[in-house]
């Protein structure tokens, strides 16, 4: 288990080989698997069938987004990967010691200031106080919360809380990072800005990403692959390869190619919801 301090230059770089479907410029190359779901089904004890036979592989350095109707089991999939619920059947392959996540809500400890919250995971992993503080301050400024280190979560906006939560996870420099609608509560402009920041974090830290969102343009902008899920019980309906090279140019959003891809995903999602 590596516990290096972040930020750090991507140390897993190399020329990407072999895989035609991936866009150029991904921070990590190779075909190694970072996270894979094999025939996952999930039925809750109360009988709710949330997922049915979901298979999905995220290779190292890939950024995969999932879109799907509300209640289709996206959060459940992430929770299964993290180990919070046991799946009913199927196999998850992942190195959990290297797994980072942001939950759908920020889950900050209300009695700790932002700094204390960002330090929390490092504290639980036994980092020294000086190291904790140093890394936490770096992460806080990385997510744009400079000057808010001594604020209680109660006094932050929803988006700021989410960023604090993001900083908390980033502090462990995970090599696989799962995000559950981290920017759902933000306005379009702030969301786009944070998307740009996330892409640069992705380039810089070189993690593998699994990102859940309801925003199609966000999914297309961030990802090398977009997965569309069906209504509950969730199944994978379609997978779109997003060919645009990394790092992504903010202007990409205004290109016709981008719009075309978004509308394709949109049509697919519409079918998912209506059928």
């Amino acid at each position: 288990m590596t516990l290096q301090a972040v930020p750090q230059p991507p140390d897993r770089t190399g020329g990407r080989t072999g895989d035609a479907s991936s866009p150029a410029g991904l921070p990590i190359a190779g075909n190694d698997v970072a996270l894979s779901f094999e025939n996952i089904s999930m039925q809750f004890p109360d009988g709710t069938q949330a997922l049915e036979d979901v298979s999905l592989t995220i290779r190292k350095g890939e950024f995969v987004s999932i879109v799907g109707p509300s209640g289709c089991g996206k959060s459940t999939l992430l929770k299964i990967a993290s180990g919070l619920f046991p799946q009913t059947s199927g196999i998850v392959k992942v190195d959990r010691s290297q797994l980072g996540y942001t939950f759908q809500d920020a889950t900050l400890l209300p009695w700790r200031k932002v700094l204390g919250n960002v330090e929390l995971l490092m504290e639980l992993r036994g980092f020294s106080p000086e190291e904790r503080r140093r890394i936490a301050m770096e992460q806080i400024s990385l997510v744009g919360l400079d000057g808010f280190a001594e604020h209680y979560p109660k006094r932050l906006s929803g988006g700021m809380r989410m960023r604090a939560s993001l900083a908390r996870s980033l502090a462990l420099n995970p090599s696989v990072f799962m995000f559950d609608e981290p920017f759902g509560a933000l306005d379009e402009i702030t969301r786009e800005r944070l998307n740009d920041e996330l892409v640069s974090l992705f380039m810089r830290n070189g993690f593998s990403g699994l990102f859940i969102t309801h925003s199609i343009s966000e999914a297309v902008y961030l990802s090398s692959k977009v997965v569309v899920m069906s209504r509950r019980p969730g199944q994978i309906l379609e997978v779109f390869d997003i060919p645009f090279a990394y790092p992504r140019d903010p202007e990409l959003r205004y290109t016709p190619e981008f719009a075309t891809l978004c509308s394709e995903v949109s049509v697919s999602l519409r079918n998912a919801i209506e059928n």
Binding site: S82, G83, L84, Y101, F103, D105, T107, L109, P110, W111, L120, L121, E123, L124, R125, Y152, P153, K154, R155
Partner: protein, 286 residues
């Protein structure tokens, strides 16, 4: 009458401040009105009772003048009130020193496992339901008349609220926070100390305030039954009744009430000081 004036429901609203601005006058009123109302009600009741007493029974409700002349005005009575207050306060605090740790321990044990909760909760309720006065002869036989039985009586009175409120607080911890700890492989103890306790602390403090308000009263009740040795305000109440010094009895009663309120306020302030920064009950709006 086809064309009526379009009625407009628009009204002008001035901004609503977070907490209503009070200003100096408002703050002064805030400070003065509650005690004045309290005091006024007290005087009114007092006057009504006194007016209805036949003259030869008016000693039951001494006048303010008599209260000063025969009790608060005398330096030896004042000294007695002070020393006896300290004795009573000592018993009350010693009782809390037992009931708070024991109560917290019980709360944590019940939180540890549902089976322990099922096993212990009825016992705690049953223990609380034992009428203390009825078992005082037993306590006297078993433990004598010293300080210890008084302290234990205070502990019995004040314990109940603590495990109940603590358990409620511990059980209401945000699942997401627990999950966060679980995913890092945190031990039960770490989770308890870093997640459950801080989260339950405001609820626990509600219990502590109840306990604090009962501590002085129960100390005085215990003194009424354990008269040996130099006692506190409870003993003074009994002694002054025996000696027909009703003014001193009232003085002791009033001091006891004052003491009780002080202990309650101390715990309330402590809670406010600890939690106002982050907890919704704290009252700071910004």
């Amino acid at each position: 009458m086809t064309q009526t004036q379009p009625s407009s429901n628009l009204t002008a609203h001035s901004p609503v401040p977070f907490t209503a601005e009070r200003g100096t006058l408002g703050n002064l009123l805030m400070l003065l009105v509650p005690p004045l109302v309290l005091f006024g009600m007290f005087i009114l009741l007092y006057a009504m009772v006194r007016a209805n007493l036949e003259p030869h029974r008016q000693f039951l409700m001494p006048s303010g003048y008599e209260l000063w002349d025969k009790a608060f005005g005398l330096s030896d009575v004042r000294w007695e009130l002070l020393t006896r207050s300290l004795t009573t306060l000592g018993i009350a605090l010693a009782g809390l020193c037992i009931s708070i740790p024991v109560g917290i321990l019980l709360g944590v044990i019940m939180f540890r496992a549902t089976i322990l909760e099922r096993a212990m909760f009825p016992n705690i309720v049953a223990f609380q339901s034992i009428p203390t006065l009825a078992i005082i002869p037993l306590i006297q036989t078993a433990l004598g008349f010293g300080t210890l039985p008084k302290v234990l009586i205070v502990a019995k009175f004040t314990m109940f609220a603590i495990p109940i409120t603590l358990l409620l607080g511990l059980k209401s911890v945000d699942r997401g926070i627990i999950n966060l700890f679980r995913l890092q492989g945190a031990s039960w103890r770490t989770t308890l100390v870093k997640a459950c306790f801080p989260s339950a602390a405001p609820a626990l403090f509600a219990g502590l305030r109840i306990a604090a308000s009962l501590a002085v009263i129960s100390a005085i009740v215990s003194e009424l039954f354990f008269l040996a040795g130099r006692g506190g305000l409870g003993q003074m109440i009994i002694n002054s009744k025996i000696d027909f010094k009703y003014e001193q009895m009232y003085a002791a009663l009033m001091t006891a009430t004052f003491l009780s309120v002080c202990v309650y306020i101390a715990f309330t302030w402590l809670g406010h000081w600890l939690f106002s920064d982050w907890h919704e009950s704290g009252g700071k709006e910004t």
